[in-house]
Assembly symmetry: C2
Homo-oligomer: 484 residues x 2
Amino acid sequence: MPAIDELRARLAELSDLSGLGALAGWDQQVMMPREGAAARANLLATLDRLSHDLATSDEIGEWLDELDGSDLAEIDRDIVRVARRDFERQRSVPAELVGERAQAAAAGQSAWEKARADADFAALAPALARNVELARAYAACFKDVPRAYDALLYDFDYGVTGELIEEVFGRLAEGLGPLIADVGRRAARPTERVGIPFEAQRAAVAATLRRLGVSEDSWRVDVSSHPFSEAVSRLDTRITTRYESGGFESLIAALHEFGHSLYERQIAPELERTNLGQGTSMTIHESQSKLWENHVARNRAFAPVLAEELSRGGHAIETGALYSQLARVGPSLIRVSADQVTYPLHIILRFQLERALIEGGLDVADLPAAWNDGMLRLLGVDVPDDAVGVLQDIHWSAGLFGYFPSYAMGCLIAAQLWQQLELDLGSQDEALRTAEVGAIKDWLAENVHKYGRRLDTEPLVERATGRGIDVAPFLAHAAAVVGG
Amino acid sequence: MPAIDELRARLAELSDLSGLGALAGWDQQVMMPREGAAARANLLATLDRLSHDLATSDEIGEWLDELDGSDLAEIDRDIVRVARRDFERQRSVPAELVGERAQAAAAGQSAWEKARADADFAALAPALARNVELARAYAACFKDVPRAYDALLYDFDYGVTGELIEEVFGRLAEGLGPLIADVGRRAARPTERVGIPFEAQRAAVAATLRRLGVSEDSWRVDVSSHPFSEAVSRLDTRITTRYESGGFESLIAALHEFGHSLYERQIAPELERTNLGQGTSMTIHESQSKLWENHVARNRAFAPVLAEELSRGGHAIETGALYSQLARVGPSLIRVSADQVTYPLHIILRFQLERALIEGGLDVADLPAAWNDGMLRLLGVDVPDDAVGVLQDIHWSAGLFGYFPSYAMGCLIAAQLWQQLELDLGSQDEALRTAEVGAIKDWLAENVHKYGRRLDTEPLVERATGRGIDVAPFLAHAAAVVGG
């Protein structure tokens, strides 16, 4: 077999194993009886190990060497380019270090659960320090990356550096500062107490998703304790939401996950079962979920659709009241329940702290104080204890560093794409009022989704919008939301 | 690492992949959106290929050679013995032949669906002939097996020969003949028209399974178009049933699948993630499902439990009427809806025909006539057309030869085990009246389940009952059912 066919066959296998992992992960959170947990962990670990072996075996290097400089079709050139990158990155890391990180992550997650319950940061500190140490060791495996933190970022967003993020986030914080101060002067954020019955929420989630094109022929919509989406394969999409509040969380989460899934589904079919047939980065992925969350679900023009579906589900609600709930802004302690305007400030704090942890400017012991200072500086919020402060997120305890920025970069890119989409297609207000989203989906397919991993984050944004990552569209959106 | 640890690590991986396959198969039939089908086939094929590669790679042979004659713990001796057998069997078959059989099976299944819909055997004949030819080629790969058909049997029931089955089935047909003639003289079998509402069926299935020990902590009970059970792992058991008739099918199927699953769950935990941690053969597996179907679910003593749970579910039914429905006997055309007494005769027919196909005594073209003759001879039934005759089962079209006998051998062994169980523990009538099945489960665990694959079918039956496979207990059971 020619080397390109050998390589493609291997990549197809890896893609299949990734689909199996998606299925086993989905099942674990949605369907699995709880006593299956220990065996499921073994099963997932075996799958990871086999995938890693297949992705790093010597023959891939031989195929790639053979393909070097050979005359290939355009897609094959991208396949080889990205395969070379993935292969070299994975081969840079010793297997023992991968194992140590997995162990430290598991230990860190257990320690975090207890520490958060007890609001006791000191109890977590040793496990956290171990994860920081191993993340640094991991970063040190990559020789051709500007700085240590960048090596971690590249796992989630290849080519985006800490320096770029620092610059972007600097402009963002600067722009958001006056807006937040303004909001803070006007009103404390009310607690969400809308009281939508779960049955009405369920009916509205199902009906709204149906109107966006979610058909049971190739989607499943289920419930899990944390909403997520998985692409088992291109036409086997699974999203979840949760029904735990009396508010709009179930609807917002469903549309957020819809955005992630639509991305995976609209990748060009010819990239299926190659290494290019998935979202290109966490940042672009998050831009897609945030586009549907911030610019569709929370859009004033879409409020009639949600109000209508809630009413059909048995909960009468006035469109204006619904919109004002979805558009509320106010500084708060907890990232996951923050509003769309203040949310990125929570991320800026985490970015600053994790970068300093990795590059040596901050000790783990000093993290709570730095956290509390940052919350006051960025959001004007006093942190009463670590449980609702530095202990609120699991990421660092699980060894995840370099992941947080994508949450805010995604918000920025979502706004930038939405602005471009409305420049290209005209205002979508009329379409949103009747949930006619076909043109939005097509624009996203053509300008973002179809590329899969053929374009990295920055080139993709440039191709779609004609310029680099920009904060102005998000700031304009935020000002409009705050302005009411 | 010592060779035994290397071997055990590999077997654990294979066990994990098998669990993943079980999950993906379960999901395909129970949860998957239908457009996911094509990608799911790829994913399962990749999983099969990787499992095959891991199961047949050279290093296993090296480990086994190194372990030959070495001093091992008792369980390890069995692990090595069965690993050697599996390895040599799998290595006997060229990869191309495996691929050709998979293709022919897929083509045969498609051809069968159309042929059955059109009642057109001739349209299926070429695809069926191809599957017969490849099954013969497959059988020829095994040099140390008495006859060609035995090589196929051994895939499902190692060590059980066509000669043994012929002898057992001969005695069975002889014993059943007069019983069936007697039934035939008395009454035609009435069509089942009980009219149990689906809601009552669902409630009774759930409640009855709960009383047998099915807890949501480690079981799932779902719906699929064909009832089945899967062991994703020892404590993650999934069974399905179906609600398509107004009769007892949903309850009977649920208890049948419960029997399969209980077997897998009660294998000794120390065999988990080894090559011994699964049911030893299709025949013993079927004996476990049939034990719960024929000797519990259809037992006169258990009828009050089913009647009680149906009544609680909203369908009042008298115990005597319920039992007489479950115990009805009468020759019929279709295997899957046959009663417990005539069922094995359907299997005897299939055994005789498939053995003759494989060993050369019967041409595919002559199969319909041979089928119709056999139905008349064994069951006294005239076959009006091939759709309800030779085309009713998918097995042969999918290349499955040697599988059918386990269905009837399972019935025989179920009766033999049940007889022994009642000899050991006394009559279970009182216990069944209140669904107190703890002692039954324990007896099965101790005498059948715990061994996993440590004992093959015949040694297992001998260990549990003190004698070889016997037809007398089944004939006694059948006579009691027919006698009323």
